[in-house]
Point group: C2
């Protein structure tokens, strides 16, 4: 997709340093830190940051790429270890929902739901495919109804997580409702 020409050594160093600085800044100052502040902390000019990361979303994605990979790995691991429906439920409850409640990560994940799969970055594609396998397996088992799509499940979890930040008990009840609703009627 996007041509990855090799970068000059200093450019490459800058790139990585900006991402690391941004990760720290997001954690320390919240997900709305100004990009100028990040550039300043990273010791680069604002222009440098903007050439590598044309908008905030691109930077956010670079910061959370590793986290997305982790979510993916956990999906794979649960799928191997547990019956299909249990794996799906554990993944949504313990992995996906908590992830959606981390502000920066949620934004990144949700653009993955909104955009067409063709423009996904590699990490998001892997994520999306792992989620697909969880849902499809639960459907093949006959545990989950066939008139829902993987994206529906992801979207619902996302919405529900967003709507219940700082209300874990409400979150739990809504997940119960959701999973009862997902069962084959």
């Amino acid at each position: 997709m996007s041509e990855q020409r090799p970068l000059r050594a200093d450019a490459r160093r800058n790139h990585e340093h900006i991402v690391a600085t941004a990760r720290a800044a997001f954690a320390e100052l919240g997900p709305d830190v100004s990009l100028n502040v990040i550039a300043q902390r990273a010791g680069v000019g604002a222009g440098t940051l903007y050439r590598r990361f044309p908008n905030r979303e691109v930077l956010v994605e670079a910061v959370y790429r590793d986290d997305i990979s982790q979510l993916t790995d956990q999906a794979v691991e649960l799928a191997e270890r547990l019956p299909a429906l249990e794996a799906l439920e554990r993944w949504v409850r313990d992995v996906l929902v908590p992830a959606q409640q981390r502000p920066g990560l949620a934004t990144t994940l949700n653009t993955a739901l909104a955009t067409a799969p063709e423009v996904f970055s590699e990490s998001k594609k892997r994520f999306s495919e792992a989620a697909d396998r969880l849902v499809s397996a639960a459907q093949a088992d006959g545990a989950v109804r066939h008139d829902v799509q993987t994206r529906d499940v992801l979207r619902m979890a996302a919405g529900l997580a967003l709507a219940s930040i700082d209300a874990p008990d409400a979150c739990h009840r809504m997940l119960v409702v959701m999973f009862d609703g997902l069962r084959t009627p």
Copy 2:
């Protein structure tokens, strides 16, 4: 709650004119129009706007107060006309979800879910009570499970609506899942 001392005539005129201008500006320029632009369009100084509406949320609420009342009225009307569960489902599907997909209105509604009821404005209190009656009636009928709260239903609908703007078919499927899940097991 908030002391409503009578305003001087010009202040009162300004207040209403700002709200009307803001409503038009939100509709025309989107929900992120700058407050300075609204002040300018309303022909008042920025300071005037900020004294009446100390932050954006207060202004947004003033703009959408009438809409919230309409949502409330429709809840009451459906409750009178239909069996409890149907009334609830119709209200969520045809009234609440579309409302949650209107950016400005959604913000206002959702603070109603997040904040404690004691600080609700009058219109939000009426809204919240009407929703409560719909859910309680459906529970009293035995149609809806008792281990969910009104706020859970509102939150779920909100999250789901937010997650499926511009995806009406996904929205429909998620609502099916939600209402199946809400049934008494």
